[in-house]
Symmetry: C2
Subunit: 222 residues, 2 copies
DNA sequence: AAAAAAATTTAGATTAGTCTAAAAAAAATT
DNA sequence: AATTTTTTTTAGACTAATCTAAATTTTTTT
């Protein structure tokens, strides 16, 4: 059932999905930036995908996912996130080590494999970064998240997402014993540099920089 | 440590390994046949791999794996076979459904993944087809495959092939719970008619006729 | 509203892997 | 030993994905 797309085509569709918040059209340059390639290459690929009716495109007006393209993108994201769960839960990888490998595994094509993997993992709802895993029909339950640095003092929440793959950041969080699922309370803010005082799992307060706070997404519980 | 080879280069090295029994040089046409491509393409790739010192090549004299190329080939084969074990043991695939998927998975590149997978699977010695899995240094214990009726009493092996498709035979095997991949031990032989007493998966002994034994190919494991 | 800046598209090349058709070398047959 | 057949190699071309540099369109600024 899934279309026979090239590795590269799949990556473009995925990029388009990630860049289109809601359903706005996406700039050529934004895609080029995201995929670390040239705008000219993006332009070529956009035309190709538009010819296959996977995306909508009008000259100079950017690209937008069409239903078929969105379905494909969600299928790739499903595979990516399931493999991340596998790598962490079954093979003992840290959550900051799995992205690159899942980038490769997400392109494996097999009608049966994904569903068997899903069963094997117990049909998980979220991946190790707290992102929701689309079901096999492409339905995805978006989680309501707010960035830690945008939340007021006194807020309590569960860390559900770290919106970055930078290993340096993830390693830093590990050291602070900040991992997905922990409860975080915002205790105070420093006027001088915007540093944030937080407690993790009701332990002693510690500071994180404003920049780190920007990448921590919480589900507010209180 | 593993070289950064393309998908295609890896497939050529693997083909070369499978086609070179012992270490004879391999024909251009044989490779083309094996990979379902043209001799011209093979010739191009042979030159490329020879330039990288992965294979030896003299015009009109065929190609032969050099140590580095052989090491790469064995690493790919290791990955292929470990993934086959994963698919059968963990995801419940039948042994005849896994080849195509493993052909894709074998190209996933990660220094850690293969070793973690190996651990997860309990460092298996053979894959579901009874073929040996090279260790991480590329050492491979070549296995002996032979017809059950030619093997001595006391031999243990994995059933890797049934060299007939007579439904009557297959039905008979089904009833005896003899299927591909099962462990069989040869317990005894009857002088009178050559019947063979075997145990399947360490269950109670049962008899098969000499004629049935002729069609069962085992990989000897002990 | 014109000029400047930014974004986008086109034109023309490049690389990896492939192909067909023709030429050259090796092997087999007579 | 000469001829035929088979195998291998070369020559030239094609596709997918990419690039740089130049041209064009849109947006922003003045």
């Amino acid at each position: 059932m899934p279309l026979d797309l090239s590795f590269t085509e799949e990556n473009y569709l995925k990029a388009l999905y990630h860049l289109s918040d809601g359903s706005e059209s996406v700039n050529t340059n934004a895609i080029a930036e995201h995929l670390q390639t040239s705008p000219a290459s993006v332009n070529d690929m956009i035309k190709k995908l538009a010819n296959k009716s996977l995306i909508g495109y009008k000259k100079y007006k950017g690209a937008i996912l069409l239903p078929e393209g969105k379905k494909s993108a969600l299928h790739i994201i499903r595979k990516h996130r399931l493999w991340e769960v596998f790598l962490v839960e079954k093979l003992g990888f840290k959550w900051d080590e799995v992205h690159e490998i899942a980038e490769q595994l997400e392109h494996i094509k097999s009608p049966l494999l994904v569903e068997r993997l899903d069963q094997f993992l117990g049909m998980p709802a979220i991946d190790p970064h707290g992102d929701p895993i689309p079901d096999k029909d492409g339905n995805i339950k978006e989680v309501i998240k707010a960035c830690l640095s945008d939340l007021p003092i006194g807020t309590k929440g569960i860390l559900v997402n770290v919106s970055a793959d930078d290993p340096a950041l993830l390693k830093h969080l590990d050291k602070l014993e900040i991992s997905l699922g922990v409860k975080i309370e915002i205790k105070d803010r420093v006027d001088f540099d915007g540093s944030i005082s937080i407690s993790v799992e009701d332990n002693n307060d510690q500071f994180i920089s404003k920049d780190v706070g920007k990448f921590l997404m919480l589900t507010v519980i209180e």
